[in-house]
């Protein structure tokens, strides 16, 4: 075994600043070991205030009844389900980063997976609120579970996509939480071993008695791999099942087999945008630029441009198929989306999701942080519009022109939506205070392959990758020649 690290200019640099293992620990633990900054305190107060307003609006809904929303007989799903699908989609990027990229052995995952998984959990919590409130009588929410009851027992309808959704979302939440926490335990042990007094007692409790034994690491790796293996089809199934809520109905524009892949692509798309929004702020505020590098941002922008194009193809396929079907109701549904009363949401969707992200084909733009930040916001607006288009535009014009309707949300509906941002950011801000935002152990494990001192970035300031590849090819050809 060689003690000399292999320096390869071909590898991407994922950790800059020539870190040592100890420096990695110091850098990543620092935010949770300091007194919170003024910016954090202001952000936290703001988030809790917004959350408070959201809670008020939820209580208002429950107290006064669902009539406080502007839903009507024609438009039975409005902002509530739009927000539900939007939040659950955002959650998907966390699982994609931690599970699918683990299976593909993508090393850049290690810089962002922890925060992305946390984002998943918080986003699913925000999402789950909406179907619950939407029930109206929240206290009867347990009716959705098949528990033995005195009414027969009368079981739930296992053939209903809405029930599939209950199982999908609750499984997804449980699995994400376990996956995230299992990965967090070794890092909580790091915080434990650096602290004293009460702080040490608390971290000892939550670190589950982690010792770092070789056998435990082996089981840890085995567990992570299998969890990633089952979380991958799970995340695909969750948004597939969400799309079944629409696709199994008989509403023109919903009743399409393209929905599952189209929803999954859209979910990954919006999720990566939200990860970017969060990471760009997090890396700056917590001074983690050496761990969440431009390379990470560029990789995520590549996923963005891919998924943007996928949803673009899906939108166009829908249009084509509705024309090709020669089915007037289907044709009308799409004509109405693009030119009807809600045409502006269709424009927002096409513009933000399909057209604007195409700039990321250009490397210069993929590596522009300010631009990426604004793009990530655009994309999330666009994806919200997509769900609004699918749900509200479609319902507003049903089979009977006499029941056609229009819908604008009340302050209560808007308040609940804004409130979920409060919930999301409150939880995220708390998370950045109590746990390492970057997976310490995982980043250490890639230091010797992706640290700047091992990729040659430090020695040769600007690396010309093409040049390096040519050199490597040349050396290789030379070797082959030597053999003959």
């Amino acid at each position: 075994m060689s003690h000399h690290p292999i320096i390869s200019p071909l590898r991407h640099t994922l950790i800059t600043g020539d870190k040592t293992y100890h420096q990695i620990t110091e850098d990543i633990c620092a935010p949770s070991e300091k007194v919170p900054s003024t910016a954090w305190v202001i952000a936290f107060i703001l988030s809790v205030t917004v959350l408070g307003f959201g809670v008020f609006c939820i209580l208002w809904t429950i107290w006064m009844g669902i009539g406080t929303w502007n839903l009507n007989r024609t438009i039975g799903w409005g902002w509530d389900i739009t927000n539900f699908v939007w939040w659950i989609g955002i959650g998907h990027a966390g699982t994609l980063i931690s599970a699918i990229l683990l299976l593909f052995r993508q090393k850049w995952r290690t810089g962002v997976n922890r925060a992305a998984e946390a984002m998943t959990i918080f986003a699913v919590m925000c999402a789950g609120l909406f179907p619950l409130i939407h029930m109206g009588r929240l206290w009867l929410g347990f009716f959705i579970f098949p528990y033995p009851n005195t009414r027969g027992p009368l079981w739930v309808n296992f053939n209903s996509p809405l029930l599939w959704d209950v199982f999908a979302i609750s499984t997804y939440f449980t699995v994400s939480l376990l996956f995230w926490y299992t990965g967090l335990v070794p890092d909580l042990a790091t915080l434990r071993d650096r602290s004293t007094g009460l702080r040490r007692k608390i971290y000892s409790f939550v670190a589950f008695g982690w010792t770092g034994s070789a056998k435990h690491w082996q089981r840890f790796e085995s567990l992570s791999l299998i969890l990633a293996g089952i979380a991958t089809p799970l995340v695909l199934s969750v948004h597939t099942i969400v799309s079944f809520d629409f696709a199994t109905s008989v509403i023109p524009g919903w009743h399409t087999t393209i929905f599952p892949p189209y929803f999954v692509a859209g979910a990954i798309f919006s999720g990566f945008a939200m990860v970017l929004t969060l990471m760009i702020i997090t890396r700056k505020v917590l001074k983690l630029e050496d761990y969440i590098t431009l390379q990470h941002i560029e990789s995520m922008n590549k996923v963005i441009v891919l998924t943007a194009t996928m949803v673009g193809v899906a939108y166009l396929t829908e249009l084509f198929i509705s024309w090709y079907s020669q089915y007037p109701y289907e044709q009308f549904a799409f004509y109405n989306r693009a030119t009807g009363i809600y045409f502006w949401s269709y424009v927002g969707m096409m513009g933000c999701n399909v057209l604007v992200p195409q700039i990321f084909w250009v490397e210069k733009y993929r590596r522009n942080i300010t631009l990426t930040f604004f793009m990530s916001i655009f994309i999330n607006i666009g994806m919200w519009f997509e769900r609004f288009v699918i749900i509200v535009t479609t319902l507003a014009r049903d089979y009977l022109p006499s029941s056609w309707s229009y819908y604008v949300p009340t302050w209560v509906e808007i308040g609940i939506y804004i409130g979920t941002f409060g919930l999301f950011f409150t939880l995220y801000l708390l998370f950045t205070r109590v746990a390492p935002v970057v997976a310490i152990a995982e980043v250490k494990s890639i230091l010797k392959t992706s640290g700047s001192q091992y990729t040659g970035l430090t020695k040769r300031k600007a690396i010309d990758y093409n040049e390096a590849a040519k050199e490597a090819d040349h050396a290789h050809a030379h070797d082959d020649h030597g053999h003959h």
């Binding site: 620990t25 079981w155 982690w210 770092g212 085995s222 099942i241």
Partner: protein, 175 residues
């Protein structure tokens, strides 16, 4: 937990040095008690000769249990306990059972594996497993020998091995 034991351990600065030291220890037929690292070191289990983890088998069994639970339960409800016709489909409408069957397979497998993992590792909320050095979760790699029943000479020879193989520090701790 079995009684206290005395552990002689050496702290290394680099995982490659650690791996070499373990290989040497294996060659010298030294009985390593355990190895502790701050992150999963690739190939460490092979060098130490650890047998493969059987968690994946447990995961499969739990998953299969989930599949059966979901599928058989829904089948029983809709064919025996309370048959209802939905949309003119047969009582036993298998395709409609697939989503929930899949979700419960994943749920059982995941929860079962995680619980099993913590149980076999002796970990859990509030578990207080003794650690040798606080820097093991930071940047030190550790080889530990159990010297509870060793003579002074044996301890010194092990200490010599640790130092010679590159350990920066050696210590004895009762855990």
């Amino acid at each position: 937990m079995e009684g206290h034991k005395d552990v002689l351990y050496g702290l290394y600065d680099d995982e490659d040095v650690l791996m070499d030291a373990i290989t040497k220890a294996q060659k010298d037929h030294l009985d390593i008690h355990d190895v502790f690292t701050p992150f999963p070191v690739h190939g460490l289990d092979e060098v130490m000769g650890l047998s493969e983890s059987r968690l994946h088998i447990a995961g499969f069994v739990y998953g299969a249990l989930g599949t059966l639970t979901a599928f058989l339960f829904m089948s029983w409800v809709f064919t025996r306990d309370w048959p209802i016709i939905f949309g003119g489909k047969p009582y036993w409408s298998v395709p409609a059972f697939i989503p929930i069957t899949f979700e419960l397979t994943v749920l059982f497998s995941c929860v079962g594996m995680v619980v099993t993992y913590y149980t076999v590792c002796g970990m859990g909320p509030g578990a207080d497993n003794p650690t040798l050095d606080d820097r093991i979760t930071d940047d030190k790699f550790c080889i530990a020998f159990n010297v509870s029943n060793s003579s002074k000479d044996e301890i010194e020879s092990l200490r010599g091995f640790l130092t010679k193989s590159g350990a920066e520090e050696t210590n004895i701790k009762t855990i």
